[in-house]
Structures are given as structure tokens and as C-alpha cells.
Subunit: 138 residues, 3 copies
């Protein structure tokens, strides 16, 4: 069994938004040389997500409105966590969107359906954060 | 390390609903001959989910009402994604329910608790969709 | 490829709450002897979750309020599932928080960011429940 590990560093220029990581994940998979196995891609921070959905800007606006409806940022003082912090909403939004994804690796490629793309979801940006890619297989 | 891959094709006859995939996943595991490892089962489409919960029709009605409350289908024009599409709600519902599951394989079986069953959740049906099963192990 | 399996038994003394499982998962990983691979940790019951977030009591109070807003326990009779049961809300809360997590194993350690901790989320407690740890790798 082979294993491969890579970190991506992300600095998102606003508090919230989405980045398509698929090209970077594909590059890591190619670098690994693994042809058959499983690939884990996860946010290493608990106010961010890695998830799979559509690369469509309108949908990302819908995610923003949906998450703000379910776990609004403001007022900050509505949350117990926000004594010294202001990011409780980001911890909640991350639970809805998920920490990460496991993707099948087949014939050296991400084994995806027609529209699947891997996204980083930032809910408390404006600072460096990391994404982990771990691949195991042969 | 062995690996095994199988696709299931699903055509759900309504826009939304749930299908128990457990027998098909168990059959794929038996076919693989893998006794110890991890099994990934995921929707290959971004308006559907694979998740683990109870095989109980009342609960599935509760899922429908819960998801319609958090991300209602109508009116379609409430969503930015719905310029040429009408399925933004399905992309949101899928985020709550998840893309897929990873299940332990022990002694050649799905290593499940007493009530765990694998479900396909369709949120934009009436057309062919695929589910991926990938198993790695020995 | 090596594989390792362990069950944790949990008896949470209230209907809902959170337990930090990280020390027990780290102990299982050390016991396994696996240095590179993937670790799955999941609830074996469908009214509980295993997820990764912050070890901060204020945030856990925020989770409680958030989940009660999205899927309130009471009145029990609002749910179709609650004919003979009273825990439909727990099945829904578990979908938001997730069934389990997959964690990279690197150099014999959980490959975590600075604040990641593994939690058990109980939504229908007061009885014995199990958590599964499965590790594969070398």
C-alpha cells in the first residue's frame, strides 16, 4: 500500500466564500502515482469545509443565503461561543457543509460523476488556513 | 491491497424520495471478496445523497418535511441558481443529507450497528442517476 | 495492509450532549500500530453523531440551540416517526451533524489541524450506545 500527503494553504480574502480545489487535488493525485484507492480531502480548520457540489456562481450565492438563514453571523452576541470570539456561526455553517470528502481513485483519476467538483468553503477567512489531502492505495 | 468498483443506476419515479441500497451494497461487497477494509458509497450526482439512517417510512416523511422547511423547492425563483435550472433546492438538501458514506468492512460484512441501513436520497429525480461503490482492503 | 477495529461503549447520562473522544481514538490508533493510513470513526446508532469541531463548552451550547431550532424535539407528535418512538428529532439532528469522520493517519498520529477534536454527539441518550473505530493502512 502506498500513501501520499499534501497540504494546501488558502488565504481567502473575505470572511466567507468558495474556492474550486479540483485542479489542485487532481495535481496531488497525479503526483502521488496512486492508481486505485481512496482520497481524503478535508479542512484542517473547524470554521471551514471541503465538500462536493456544482461550480456555479448562482448556487454559491444560494449557499450563502441558506447558511445565513440557518446560522446567521449577526448579532455576534446571540452565541455562547462568542465571548472572546466572533465566529460561532462559522463553526455551525461548517457542520452543515461538512468537514471533508472521501473520493474513489480509479485508473489514476478522481472517480467523479459528470458535475462533481471539490470546493473549499470558507466561513471565517482573512487568514491562512490549510487543507489536507491524503491518498492511500496502490 | 485489493480494490473493487461498481456503479448502481437509479431512476427514481418522483422528484424526491428514498431507496434502501443496503442489499445492493452487500451484494457488491460479497462480489469483491474483500474481507477487511473500507467501503465508500456515494451519489455521483450533486442533487442526490447517500446516507445511513433508519428504514422507517414515517421517518422518511419527516425527512421530506424537514428538508422542505430548511430548503424549500418553491418558489423556484427564490434561488440564484434557478435561471435555467429549477433544482437549487436539491443542491441544498443534498448538503444537509451528505454526499456519501464510508463504512468499515469486517469479516467480509458491512460493520453496522443494529439499525444502520444505507439510503439513496433523491432530490431531483425522474431521470437516470448513478451511485458509486468503491471498496479497498484485503 | 493492516486493519484494526475497536468499539467504544458510551452511556450518556442525558438525552443530548457532547463527549470528546479524541483520547480514546488516539489510544486505539497507538494500539493498532498503524503509521500511515485512514481511520474511520462512526456512531453505530442512528440517533448519534461523530464529528470534528472545537472543544469549547459555549460552542456546544450553541450546537444545542442550533439543532433545537432546526429540528426541535417537542412536540413529539409533530413527527410521523413518533408513533411508538419519541426520537424523530434525534434522527434529524444526526443528519446535520453527520454519522462519522474519516481522519488521515500520518507518522502514527491523527493528522489534525490545530483545533480539531473528535466528538460524540448524543441526541437520544440514557442508554448504552457504541462507536466504531476502524483503521486501515501500514
Amino acid at each position: 500500500m502506498k500513501s501520499f500527503r499534501k497540504e494546501l494553504v488558502i488565504h481567502y480574502p473575505r470572511r466567507r466564500g468558495y474556492l474550486n480545489l479540483t485542479p489542485q487535488v487532481e495535481a496531488a493525485l497525479a503526483e502521488s502515482g496512486i492508481r486505485e484507492g481512496l482520497l481524503l480531502c478535508n479542512a484542517m480548520h473547524i470554521t471551514a469545509s471541503v465538500f462536493i457540489n456544482d461550480d456555479e456562481a448562482g448556487l454559491h450565492s444560494d449557499f450563502e443565503e441558506f447558511l445565513e438563514r440557518l446560522a446567521p453571523e449577526l448579532p455576534h452576541e446571540q452565541y455562547h461561543h462568542n465571548g472572546f470570539e466572533d465566529n460561532a456561526d462559522a463553526h455551525l455553517k461548517r457542520q452543515i457543509m461538512g468537514r471533508g470528502v472521501v473520493v474513489a481513485v480509479t485508473d489514476g483519476k478522481l472517480d467523479f460523476g459528470p458535475w462533481e467538483q471539490i470546493f473549499y468553503g470558507e466561513f471565517d477567512g482573512l487568514r491562512n488556513k490549510r487543507v489536507l489531502i491524503k491518498i492511500i492505495g496502490d
